[in-house]
């Protein structure tokens, strides 16, 4: 078990930074690329998680617990955000009978 869990000693921190940047960019790409609101919500989750992974990597690298506690709180906020976001989506489906994000353009002007 000790052999598995000390990956941070072998893998340089730069690789975790690179992985997190890639995952965050995929999330940004998805938000810009898709029109389906539920996929956009999922891409936001992906961005949340890439940040979580980077925080955990830094916390493990520095042997500092605070980063991991922060990740825990981010997970709490993400759970609340998903509940509210999905209920907004249900309301949107009920009111305009679509989950197309372009239907919500009245907020633009």
């Amino acid at each position: 078990m000790n052999e598995i869990t000390s990956a941070i000693q072998i893998i340089p921190l730069e690789h975790y930074i690179l992985l997190s940047i890639i995952m965050f960019s995929i999330g940004v790409l998805g938000v810009l690329f898709r029109r389906n609101t539920i996929v956009i919500l999922m891409c936001i989750e992906l961005m949340f998680n890439s940040v979580n992974l980077l925080l955990t990597a830094f916390a493990a690298y520095h042997s500092d617990l605070t980063g991991q506690v922060f990740v825990f709180f981010i997970m709490i906020v993400a759970a609340a955000e998903v509940a509210v976001g999905l209920s907004i989506l249900v309301m949107m489906k009920r009111n305009v009978d679509s989950v197309d994000i372009n239907q919500l353009n009245r907020l633009k002007w």
């Binding site: 890639i22 042997s63 009111n95």
Partner: protein, 179 residues
């Protein structure tokens, strides 16, 4: 053991791209679940066992099931939403790529990072996190319950059906000021 890191990273990136580019929302959800499970593996590699368990339970157990539930409840798999125009899609890809380049350039400029404390195998274990959570972070931990209550109330309020004719402007004009 560094092989596992690159293997999980490849799974995460491929499933992330599948999430963005797959046609039906169900496939997107399943790709995201695969991505999250791989991320749980990354947490275990980082010796963050508590976070790995919480991540699997909260994300793949609760949040993704909620997504699947909403998709099936609203029957979103049948309804096809037209894609954005090809100009918008190309510019979205370019914008994402530019964002990636900027972040890479910023991280290249960063200073050399040196560990603050020597390596400690007990960092991410449940007992250490629990002690930190209930001593230093007790107040935020309790306040997060208020956040959950407000999120729950908000979700219920949004999910409630409006009274009949509520979206009618006549109804709204007659009821302003009397409520």
């Amino acid at each position: 053991m560094s092989f596992l890191f690159y293997f999980l990273s490849a799974i995460m990136i491929i499933s992330g791209l599948l999430l963005v580019f797959s046609k039906s929302p169900i496939n997107s959800v399943i790709a995201l679940i695969v991505c999250f499970i791989a991320m749980g593996g990354q947490y275990i590699l980082l010796n963050a066992q508590f976070l790995a368990v919480v991540h699997i339970i909260v994300y793949t157990g609760a949040i993704m099931v909620l997504f699947l539930f909403v998709i099936m409840l609203l029957n979103l798999n049948k309804t096809t939403i037209p894609q954005k125009t090809s100009l918008t899609r190309v510019s979205a890809v370019i914008a994402g790529g530019l964002f990636f380049l900027v972040m890479i350039a910023a991280s290249r400029q960063a200073l050399e990072i040196t560990p603050r404390y020597p390596f400690d195998g007990h960092t991410g274990l449940v007992s250490a996190i629990g002690k930190s959570l209930f001593h230093e972070f007790l107040l935020p931990f309790e306040i997060s319950s208020v956040l959950f209550i407000s999120a729950m109330i908000g979700a219920v309020m949004f999910g409630k059906k409006d009274p009949p004719g509520y979206s009618d402007p006549v109804y709204r004009n007659n009821n302003t000021g009397t409520a």
